[in-house]
């Protein structure tokens, strides 16, 4: 069907483009890795526990997050360069264009998170098939949510630096208040924010996948994580498709 052929081709383009710009590949993973080494080692020294293990899921999600920002910023470049115009006049539904772009970004971000897995062995992570699948699925769904939300924002913003700033402003607090850096808070509003934050469910899914034997009674259940992340994905995908459909009159 034309819908999925269009999705496939835009998805593939996203991957090829990204890996032809090595600075982007290194940038996202490198930043996350440095955070992990510095913050993990520093806080381990203060707390006396191995914070590097606690911080590892958050590190993977951070790499995902930075890749998402890069990938979304390319929407703005595409609009300015005219490539997107030629896609918009092709005989394919707008929803296919949005899906291709988001799926491409989500795939890349997931891969950029998974690239860190070899380091997980150094902090006692264990591999078990079912939790590992849960980990990949959580990373992917969270990537999809961030990309779909980012698509919607990128469509409304004209300057790539402006987009980077806004995305950092929104995503960094979400990442911090997700269980990536600290597990819980006594503050009621922060508790509430953590509860409605999609990152919380992504980080929880990754944590369960890395440490299948751990005690995670405090974390949301795996099925709740998957259901909520899926719901967020559908919502932001629909929102982005709607915005693109509606903006036909625009320049």
């Amino acid at each position: 069907m034309n819908f999925w052929l269009a999705v496939y081709t835009l998805w593939q383009r996203e991957l090829v483009r990204f890996y032809r710009q090595p600075s982007r590949v290194v940038g996202a993973v490198g930043t996350a890795l440095l955070f992990w080494v510095v913050l993990g080692t520093g806080i381990s020294g203060i707390s006396g526990t191995d914070y590097r293990a606690y911080f590892f899921p958050g590190t993977m999600v951070m790499s995902v997050m930075f890749t998402c920002i890069f990938s979304n910023a390319s929407i703005i470049e595409d609009r300015q360069a005219g490539f997107l115009q030629s896609v918009l006049v092709a005989p394919v539904p707008r929803a296919a264009i949005v899906m291709g772009k988001i799926l491409g970004g989500a795939t890349l971000s997931t891969l950029q998170g998974l690239v860190l897995l070899p380091f997980a062995g150094t902090v006692g992570a264990r591999f078990a098939p079912l939790p590992a699948m849960g980990l990949v699925l959580s990373l992917f769904l969270l990537s999809f949510v961030i990309n779909a939300g980012g698509f919607w924002l990128a469509w409304k913003i004209d300057s790539p630096p402006g987009f980077h700033t806004i995305m950092n402003m929104i995503l960094l607090p979400m990442w911090m208040a997700s269980g990536a850096v600290f597990s819980a808070s006594a503050s009621p509003w922060l508790k509430f924010f953590m509860m409605i934050n999609p990152f919380t469910y992504g980080v929880a899914g990754v944590r369960r996948g890395l440490f299948p034997a751990g005690d995670f009674t405090q974390l949301p259940s795996p099925s709740l994580c998957i259901i909520l992340l899926t719901a967020f994905s559908v919502f932001f995908y629909a929102l982005s498709s709607w915005v693109v459909e509606k903006s036909e009159m625009r320049n």
């Binding site: 269009a6 483009r17 710009q21 005219g82 490539f83 006049v89 005989p91 036909e248």
Partner: protein, 309 residues
Amino acid sequence: MENVVEVENLSFHYGDKAALSGLTFSVGRGEIFGFLGPNGGGKTTTFKILSTLFSCQPGQVKMFGMDLVKEKIQIRRKMGIVFQLPALDKKLKVRENLEHQGHLYGLAGKELQDRIDRDLERLSLKNREKDKVETLSGGLQRRVELAKALLSNPELMILDEPSTGLDPAARKEFWGHLESLRKEKGMTVLVTTHYLEEADRCDRLLILDQGKKVALGNPDQLKAEIGGEVLRLRAKNPNDLMAQITQKLKVKTLLVGGLIQIEEKKAHNLVGPLLEAFPEEILSLTLGLPTLEDVFIHKTGRRMLEERE
């Protein structure tokens, strides 16, 4: 002749500002039809509506007998579009760009590969197919854009200022390709331009100014309407001289872009009398046949070129 495009009373607004008002024209199959005019004249808005990037009201535009609003996707299948801004992905190779285009038009597998080979050969790009687009010259990139638009075997090709930024040789070559496509495939071509020599190559031309139709017709016919020849004078005090010329020689004068202009059937007969009567005032004098620029001046009283970027 069957009409491929029929536009009826088309208007478009950006907020309060009217970009197009009441435009009506039609384009027959196999025509090379040009839109000429200054920036802000309405060419690009017309292009964006016809290429389905902007929406119009139902009933205003019919293409291939279908309504542009109601049957957008079917219409898109039959069109090839070349944008003013480069629409290639520069990080991808030439062939990769074409593959993506094919997929977006529902082509895949052997048929797609065959068509890519066909278009690469037609446009002499075969030896560059594995090169990244960013390594190609501007002229070659334009050729890839054309190959990309041709891939879906369009019946109608729409191009927005396609040769902007090309040197004259590359521009000539690009037009050669367009003309041979029309000849071989009976393709209809719509093109916006602000180059007069390009406009001259069109079968028919719609001249636009401030969103309105200024003139419509064959370039030679439009020029013939002015009739005769055009004299341009550079003078020390153009306004004074104009009054004196009208008084002495009984001819109509226009002041266009600081030059005095006289359109007369046999304007060459005026050269002697003018130089004898005003030897001091006239700094220079040129005599020529009317150009499309003169057609524009004749209709609007202004020059087209000075309003360009």
